[in-house]
């Protein structure tokens, strides 16, 4: 039965800071949540300020669900979804959306593949019809597959091979995840992309693209009843597919040794370094841990007031910029990352020593009460700012549900964030900022290689394991 869930931000009325909770209440959204008979989840987030809607379908399949040796298949298939069906001629999907004044696109991550359109509200039925159609009725010609594979190899060159910073990240992720498929890039390794074919694409499609493996999210100038009626008429007619659910992925073995990756590349403009730690995600963390990591990383490394920026950029002047992030939204592992770009001198070693000091200090002494409060405030303000954008709201719910959270989890987030204590933060710092769970990557400018194999691959990555302690 349909239930209207009192929104995300209204929950915060009970929060400690009265000023922001009033803001939050006024900014409240009401997310409606239901399920079709065939198992497809439906989320509706009304926003009546403009006569437009954001329509998204999220599939619970991503790059980490590919078979070994087929890296890039989930993303490759996402491109192929635009080719055509019995009813939509090849290459016409996006054109039809455009002729109706809409914009469309799609994206693939390790855990999810999502397709979306932004369009006038009276065209919602049209895009739902089209999206439902391609969920099961895709037609792929051999030529479409072969041509699109070339496009994706160009995409890989743009995103990765042309940019040494991206090459380093790819190597660092590969070193961070030893058994889990998050170690392979979403876009795929070039030689594996080159081997993907129509048969592998279709097998992937038939297995995973099913209503019982999908989530519909609609945000904008609509009411839940309208969306449910349209959803029943479109997606509701598709039969569920047995065994569409993905298999559990391999788990990481204990990480016992810090790893280091050094990339020397003539195309690097400045020496840069990054440090990644294996961490849990909101889905896999113990209750409260992910919220505490969010706050820890914000105070430690986000923005000009953060400890890392103050030490490396303001005081020591070793870095031109420095920061950090917590990749918290994932079905399995998350990761905590720090980075710095060297200033005038090329002292990555000294930068790394100070990063280690900052981390050792927070493990030992935790944050100050003021730092924690400021971090909480910033996050809750972000939450209010996010309510300005229906697309952001649609993504908030989509990412949450597709990585295994519930609507209740998503909506209780501000409250849980507020509940984090200084002790909680210290605990996660100690538990997860453990050097043995880390990979440190350096990118150093180097003279161009003279010997070339002609493939144009200008990077020379070397990876070695070494304990730091």
């Amino acid at each position: 039965m349909a239930t209207i869930i009192q929104g995300v931000l209204i929950v915060m009325a009970s929060l400690a800071i009265s000023a922001l909770s009033e803001e939050a209440e006024a900014a409240g959204t009401r997310a409606f949540h239901d399920k079709l008979e065939n198992g497809m989840e439906v989320v509706v987030i009304p926003d009546h300020r403009a006569p437009v809607v954001t329509h998204m379908v999220w599939y619970k399949v991503g790059a980490a669900d590919e078979q070994a040796g087929q890296s890039g298949l989930a993303h490759f298939f996402e491109h192929l979804m635009f080719k055509g069906t019995e009813k939509i001629p090849p290459g016409q999907f996006s054109k039809i959306v455009a002729q109706n004044g809409g914009r469309d696109n799609a994206f693939t991550s390790q855990d999810a593949t999502a397709y979306f359109q932004r369009i006038a509200k009276d065209r919602l039925g049209l895009v739902m019809e089209m999206e439902a159609d391609r969920m099961r009725n895709l037609r792929l010609s051999e030529k479409d597959v072969v041509t699109e594979r070339e496009v994706i190899l160009e995409e890989r060159r743009s995103r990765v091979d042309n940019d040494p910073g991206s090459v380093l990240s790819e190597e660092v992720y590969a070193a961070l995840y030893r058994s889990h498929p998050y170690g392979s890039p979403v876009i795929g390794w070039a030689h594996e992309i080159a081997a993907l074919d129509r048969a592998s694409a279709l097998a992937f499609y038939r297995r995973y693209y099913a209503p019982n493996n999908a989530i519909l999210v609609v945000a904008g100038d609509v009411e839940p009843e309208e969306v449910m009626a349209l959803a029943k008429r479109t997606y509701g007619k598709i039969a569920p597919v047995p065994d569409a659910t993905r298999a559990p992925r391999p788990k990481e073995p204990p990480h016992r040794a810090a790893r280091r990756v050094l990339l020397k590349d003539a195309r690097a403009g400045r020496p840069t370094m990054q440090r990644l730690y294996l961490a849990p995600s909101y889905t896999t963390a113990e209750p409260g841990e992910a919220e505490a990591i969010d706050l820890l990383v914000k105070a430690l490394a986000s923005g000009a007031t953060s400890r890392l920026y103050r030490r490396l950029v303001v005081e020591e002047k070793l870095a031109a910029s420095a920061g950090g992030w917590y990749m918290s939204t994932a079905l399995d592992y998350g990761r905590i990352g720090f980075y710095a770009i060297a200033a005038d001198k090329n002292e990555l070693g000294e930068i790394e020593r100070i990063l280690d000091e900052v981390i050792a200090d927070v493990i030992e002494n935790g944050l100050t009460a003021e730092e924690l409060e400021r971090a909480k405030n910033l996050y809750i303000a972000d939450y209010v700012y996010e309510s300005d954008s229906q697309s952001s709201l649609a993504r908030r719910y989509g990412w949450g549900l597709v990585t295994g959270l519930t609507i209740a989890d998503i909506e209780a987030w501000p409250e849980r964030l507020r509940a984090v204590t200084l002790e909680d933060v210290k605990k996660v710092a100690r538990k997860y900022l453990d050097i043995r769970r880390s990979v440190t990557g350096w990118l150093e400018p180097a003279p161009a290689h003279t010997a070339r194999d002609g493939s144009g691959d200008a990077s020379a990555a070397e990876s070695k394991s070494k304990s730091k302690s």
């Binding site: 437009v52 290459g91 455009a98 950029v313 910033l378």
Partner: protein, 463 residues
């Protein structure tokens, strides 16, 4: 939380617009009457022109459903006002305004921004210096004070200047090896030479090293004034409160900007082809020539034409020919880029080194075909459907509305432009497009910059 994971990857490199010709047969069966477009208003919103007690004007859209406020503003000037030997000055200033003001040194200022959750940023284009400001209603008073300080009393402390200089220099060194940046910079140098438009907006390693506190303050004093300022505000505020906000923030600025005249200029006529060797597997190509000014009667037809040629993502001819049919590139596009003192038609493609020649040849052929034949009736119809139907998508958040209203003022299009705009698109005829295509597109006169290791290129100029 729930920020998009950084490793996702999209089908389209840039958020460009999609659509083209279509076989309706199968589709009509599918969607029936939904395809019949109903004419509708672009956006039912009320734009008020507010004048503060102190005489400062702004456009306001009240929107009280969410307790926040978005403001965008622009000073005419931008990087074109950088002194000749201080390229990058306006850009440097964008980094300095939140680095301490009044009695608040950098770290104190930053802490207050965070404490009151203020979002404040600055940006310099070639013709404008722009600000973006957002605040929650609860903290509006404190946020406004911080913006006032930033614009009126920036400190330009030596340590903050040196820190920002290091950051900018590092960025320039990284950009110097980024094929996209290099191609674009080389294109503007080739097109404009010594004219201010030929100078890099972020400056050079040399010019940025010279910039001082006195330079920054001199630029601020010359360019931040009331007579070259356009402001748009959207959100939880009424006209009276906005009037007082405007006087607080902008009331202390000089009455009149002292802008140095920037001469009108046309880009150098091609064919010019510059190859900048870089050891990358994929070449990045920028191409373009003179465009059509925003004030020109042909601008709107040219905009529609470009949508069909290379602006419409999957609906564009360039994407169809280069990407969909031949798999030569992930991204290929063109756009109109009108400046205050010139106008450009620009485009780009990125393709593996041995496909540069073929990609360029396909692009030239498409430009030539469009110039000689123009688009089809169906393409025009499809373009109109997209361009008019998607206009409301630009107005679905407070920030986006404020951005739109700021640009409409900068371009001096009139307060009724939002209502008029779709009518202007609808009025474009196939004859207009044919005429404009002949006038605009000169495939033999392109300036082309290529960064990479392209093979099999034909020489297009004498160099």
């Amino acid at each position: 939380m729930f920020a998009s994971p950084p490793t996702q990857t999209d089908r389209k490199l840039r958020a460009r617009l999609a659509a083209a010709r279509i076989t309706f047969a199968g589709l009509l069966a599918l969607v029936g009457a939904l395809l019949v477009l109903q004419p509708r208003e672009a956006h039912a919103m009320k734009i008020q022109e507010v004048t503060s007690p102190g005489g400062i004007k702004a456009w306001l859209v009240e929107e009280h459903t969410i307790p926040l406020l978005a403001m965008r503003f622009a000073f005419a000037g931008g990087a074109a006002q950088d002194p000749e030997d201080r390229a990058g000055l306006a850009h440097f200033l964008t980094a300095m305004l939140d680095e301490g003001a009044g009695d608040l040194k950098s770290s104190a200022f930053q802490e207050r921004l965070e404490k009151f959750a203020v979002r404040m940023s600055f940006d310099a284009g070639k013709d404008t210096f722009r600000g973006s400001f957002q605040t929650l209603t609860e903290y509006r008073k404190e946020a406004i004070e911080l913006l006032r300080l930033a614009l009126n009393e920036p400190r330009f402390d030596e340590d903050a200047i040196e820190r920002m200089r290091r950051q900018i220099l590092a960025r320039l060194q990284i950009d110097a090896k980024d094929p996209d940046r290099v191609a674009s910079r080389a294109w503007f140098e080739a097109a404009f030479g010594k004219h201010p438009y030929g100078r890099p907006t972020k400056g050079t390693l040399e010019s940025v090293k010279k910039i001082s506190a006195a330079d920054l303050e001199a630029y601020r004093k010359r360019v931040f004034a009331k007579d070259n300022l356009k402001i748009a505000v959207v959100g939880d505020i009424d006209a009276k409160a906005l009037g007082s906000l405007l006087d607080t923030v902008f009331g202390g600025l000089s009455e009149k900007a002292e802008l140095r005249p920037v001469p009108a200029v046309v880009p150098k006529e091609g064919p010019i082809e510059r190859v900048i060797e870089m050891d990358v597997p994929q070449s990045v190509v920028q191409f373009g020539h003179a465009g059509i000014a925003r004030k020109d009667d042909d601008f709107v037809p040219a905009y529609v034409l470009n949508y069909i040629l290379g602006g419409g993502g999957f609906s564009s001819r360039l994407t169809e020919e280069v990407r969909e049919k031949r798999g030569l590139a992930y991204s290929v596009y063109s756009y109109l880029y009108p400046f205050k003192h010139t106008a450009l038609f620009l485009g780009g493609v990125a393709t593996k080194n041995d496909a540069v020649a073929q990609s360029l040849s396909v692009i030239r052929k498409e430009l030539a075909r469009m110039a000689s034949e123009g688009p089809t009736e169906q393409e025009l119809e499809n373009a109109k459907r997209y361009l008019t139907g998607s206009y409301p998508l630009r107005f679905d958040t407070n920030s986006k509305i404020a951005g739109q209203l700021m640009w409409i003022q900068v371009e001096d299009l009139g307060i009724d432009y939002v209502e008029k705009r779709n009518g202007l698109i609808e009025a474009v005829t196939l004859d207009d497009l044919r005429r404009v295509a002949r006038r605009l597109l000169k495939p033999d006169k392109l300036i082309v910059t290529i960064v990479g290791k392209p093979t099999r290129l034909e020489k297009k100029d004498g160099s």
